[in-house]
Symmetry: C2
Subunit: 155 residues, 2 copies
């Protein structure tokens, strides 16, 4: 029983955790000929409303994005505070942390995944407030973490 | 200095290592509504000419593929023999093992990546002999392993 709002064709991002985003981003530029990306830092709780394992969190990360057609390659350098990103870096070292899907109705999809045994690990607003991301503990079910990305309708 | 045969837009696959491919494939079918995939087993050295760290290898894996638009989600269950897959499973557990790119001229691209410090980790022919895959040790450079996929011209 799949959910109509979660389609494999909406895969839109592969997120890679790294130690040093400036260094790795430069390597991506060298290997693929990308122009230098903007490196953005996510906001703290007051703005992002980030929760990690259900609790408010001040954890942030530096992010860089590379456009690769349907898919964006996202580099993530976490700060030292507890987060899904920091947890992954400490347990696994650098590597692919998640696959992201563009969805509608985060509540419906997270409810559906929770019924399948995969709860919410971390959630927060985009830095510009234009949407919400949700990391779901799909690892035991699907072999890796999934991220759900929902853009809010523009008013 | 990027290589013209290695373009980010040719990203075509995300490969996930799992312990039990039948179980995980079934979960993907449940979550995304996929029909049950064919699970194929890669061939031994005589047919695949697999090399691992430069040495002939009899390692095999069970594979399943799900079509997700530009990208295919590949599940991989390695056998017990040494391979990049088995190495990953033992070091990291289940997770995303590689990002694959469709390329032309494997020799040119692997030569280019070798100049950038990323050598060949494993290489072999597709089970049906229609192409060649190459895993390249891009982890230290780019945060994850890359796979290069080259389809041979049809004669």
């Amino acid at each position: 029983m799949s959910h109509p709002n979660l389609k494999a064709e909406t895969i839109c991002q592969v997120g890679i955790i790294v130690h040093d985003i400036e260094r790795t981003a430069q390597k991506y530029c060298e290997v693929f000929g990308f122009p230098p990306p903007q490196i953005v830092e996510t906001a703290g709780f007051a703005q992002s409303k980030t929760t990690y394992n259900g609790q408010p969190s001040e954890a942030t990360a530096k992010l860089a994005f590379f456009n690769a057609g349907q898919v964006t390659i996202e580099l993530i350098q976490p700060d030292e505070k507890p987060s899904v990103w920091r947890e992954f870096l400490e347990q696994h070292g650098e590597g692919v942390h998640h696959i992201a899907f563009q969805i509608k109705d985060t509540e419906a999809v997270t409810g559906y995944l929770a019924e399948n045994g995969a709860g919410i690990a971390q959630q927060g607003l985009y830095s510009d407030g234009s949407g919400v991301y949700t990391y779901v503990d799909t690892g035991p079910l699907l072999g890796t973490m999934f991220e759900l990305l929902e853009n809010f309708p523009r008013s």
